[in-house]
């Protein structure tokens, strides 16, 4: 059989999502952002939501998310994405509104907006990339940096007495009455990717069903910031990150 007999539309099982732009991403090889972007693009396409989706981009590595995911986007100031999403959704309740934020954006400078948007039960979905480091600014300590972890601003390792403790903010959000769905996922294996996709889809569906705020934390790697090759970064994440940030649902109402 000739290979051209196999390459036919009816045999196609996988393709680039229509809403993921055919362009070079600026993300480092091995970074989790590209996988999560692809999942969002796939889900929006599967939900036929491309005409009603409005994304909110963060400040951080994903600041250019709007260059890759082909729906309307508003670029928020650092940490303000949940406030921005609040207004978009309140003013246009028929739209699918989601934020895409890193750990510094969501759990440090934007803590107040995260907590209060979830506490008001805003009908938005929050996708939260937790790689325990500030990637874009060059690998400084994040609120989620593990104790002992070396970063540009904790060169001898994070110390509780100097820097406080890693913040499991999803556990905090899960305590709030306005949050309907809080889950922690990862994208380091094909099985994990499928689970993460189901979680993000559920969060998007919750927002359209008016159930309240959903937060999907993706425990991620930052091989550049962690100074590890991609495969080793995945191993390091399994060994260290999952202990502090265990995978699974924290709340599912």
């Amino acid at each position: 059989m000739d290979i051209n007999d196999i390459i036919k539309p009816e045999n196609r099982v996988y393709k680039r999502p229509a809403l993921l732009n055919d362009t070079h991403m600026h993300y480092c090889p091995g970074c989790s952002h590209g996988v999560v972007h692809k999942l969002i693009a796939e889900i929006l396409e599967e939900m036929n939501a491309e005409d009603k989706a409005i994304g909110v981009a963060p400040v951080g590595c994903a600041v250019f998310a709007y260059n890759y995911i082909d729906v309307d986007f508003i670029e928020a100031a650092h940490g303000r994405a949940p406030a921005v999403a609040t207004a978009i959704k309140r003013l246009q309740p028929d739209k699918l509104v989601f934020t895409y934020q890193g750990d510094g954006d969501l759990a440090a400078i934007g803590t107040a907006e995260t907590i209060h948007a979830a506490n008001r039960g805003e009908n938005i979905a929050i996708v939260f990339i937790n790689n325990a480091i500030y990637g874009m600014t060059g690998g400084q300590m994040a609120p989620t940096t593990l104790l002992g972890m070396k970063t540009a601003t904790t060169p001898y390792g994070r110390r509780a007495d100097l820097n406080g403790y890693p913040l499991a903010i999803s556990n905090l959000v899960a305590q709030l009455d306005g949050a309907c769905y809080v889950t922690r996922q990862s994208v380091h294996t094909p099985a994990a990717v499928r689970k993460a996709k189901a979680a993000i889809r559920k969060a998007f569906e919750n927002s359209m069903a008016g159930k309240g705020t959903s937060l999907v934390e993706i425990v991620s790697t930052c091989n550049s910031g962690w100074k590890l090759p991609p495969v080793q970064a995945n191993e390091w994440m399994k060994e260290h990150m999952f202990e502090k940030y265990p995978i699974g649902d924290l709340k599912n109402v």
């Binding site: 491309e50 005409d51 009603k52 989706a53 409005i54 909110v56 981009a57 600041v63 250019f64 709007y66 082909d70 729906v71 309307d72 986007f73 508003i74 670029e75 928020a76 100031a77 303000r80 406030a83 921005v84 999403a85 609040t86 207004a87 978009i88 309140r90 003013l91 246009q92 739209k95 107040a112 907006e113 209060h116």
Partner: protein, 359 residues
């Protein structure tokens, strides 16, 4: 239909916004402007026009909600007082840089710091000279009556949408708190989504039938960022050319010229009466737009007069623009009270006499 009511400036502003067909208000309580949020919550416009009213967790969140609403092409606004408006400066810079129409109200109180809850005009520099980071301007309107607190809501939004730029109503605590007769305008309908799609084709309304819209102020290519800045500056020159507004009272052939805005312009009208009794002929220029500043109008009014007194509830801020306007061809002095104090007309006249006549 139009309606005549007796109310505070802050209350009139809230009613005017509902009647304009506003889509959303996002704010945080602070004295002396909390009546704006209180009036809106009391009126429950979400039941009638569908307007959104939300008490945010902070002024920082509120201005970013306004940024988002403006990005969606909606008529949205926030109100605060001086310390709260300081917190909003980053967001105002983003709104200007993203070329979005929004209305921001500052009912000024005395500073610096936590300061006082009593009236002030000491945020003139912040409002007119940028406030936030980068080369930008907001159109700044200075109401001096409850009626103008009402009227400048529609003027502010109309200008903001025309030029896609933030507009600020810079009121002082007196204008926000005093009660006067006001004619409220007719209720206008809110714009439909279809109208917004037509009038604001740049807005994030969902990309139905068009390419993706992105609201952002980020541009890492230096040449493109320079072009963006040059476009902003062209808009500002257009605004300066078309939208400079002021009121001139008895300026023809006056001995001395007063320049004052907001509540101080009202006090200066009494000063003019007292001066006339003493045979001193005073004129008054009341800037209505503080940015763009009515420099040419002041220069024209100052021709032939012996001196200019700026009367401000601050230590001398607008005086700098007045000096630039007359290019030091006329002597310009300042009189102001600080810390929430308000001068009487007698005090102002005595200051004028001491600074110019009996010196």
């Amino acid at each position: 239909m139009e309606e005549v009511r007796l109310m505070k400036g802050n209350e009139a502003l809230a009613h005017a916004a509902i009647r304009y067909g506003a889509d959303g208000y996002f704010g945080y309580p602070i004295t002396p402007q909390s009546e704006v949020l209180e009036t809106l919550e009391d009126e429950m416009p979400w039941e009638t026009t569908g307007m959104v009213v939300l008490q945010a967790e902070s002024e920082v969140a509120a201005i970013n909600m306004v940024y988002a609403g403006a990005g969606c092409g909606k008529a949205v606004f926030t109100s605060s007082s001086s310390p709260g408006v300081s917190l909003m400066q980053e967001g105002i810079s983003y709104i200007a840089a993203s070329e979005l129409p929004a209305l921001i109200i500052n009912v000024m109180r005395g500073g610096p710091g936590l300061g006082t809850i009593h009236p002030s005009q000491a945020d003139y520099f912040q409002a007119c000279k940028g406030g936030g980071h980068g080369d930008y301007h907001a159109i700044v309107l200075a109401p001096s009556s409850v009626q103008e607190m009402c009227d400048f809501v529609s003027l502010g939004w109309d200008l903001a949408f025309k030029y896609r730029t933030p507009a600020m109503i810079l009121a002082d605590g007196i204008v926000g708190q005093m009660m006067e007769k006001v004619v409220l305008p007719e209720q206008r309908p809110r714009r439909t989504e279809e109208q917004i799609r037509q009038q604001c084709p740049w807005a994030t309304t969902g990309k139905k039938g068009r390419k993706q819209n992105i609201i952002t102020s980020l541009e890492l290519d230096d040449d493109r960022m320079e072009q963006n800045n040059l476009r902003f500056q062209r808009t500002y020159r257009e605004i300066e050319k078309n939208e400079t507004r002021c009121e001139l009272i008895n300026t023809d052939g006056c001995d001395y010229l007063l320049v004052a805005f907001g509540s101080m312009a009202r006090i200066c009208q009494k000063v003019m009466e007292l001066a006339a009794e003493k045979g001193i002929k005073l004129g008054l220029v009341r800037p209505i737009t503080l940015w763009p500043f009515p420099a040419q109008q002041i220069a024209d009014a100052a021709k032939g007069c012996k001196g200019i007194l700026t009367v401000e509830l601050d230590a001398g801020q607008m005086i700098e623009d007045v000096k630039l306007a007359v290019n030091c061809n006329v002597e310009v002095k300042h009189y102001g009270r600080l810390g929430g104090n308000v001068p009487t007309p007698d005090e102002v006249l005595a200051a004028l006499e001491n600074l110019f006549i009996n010196k």
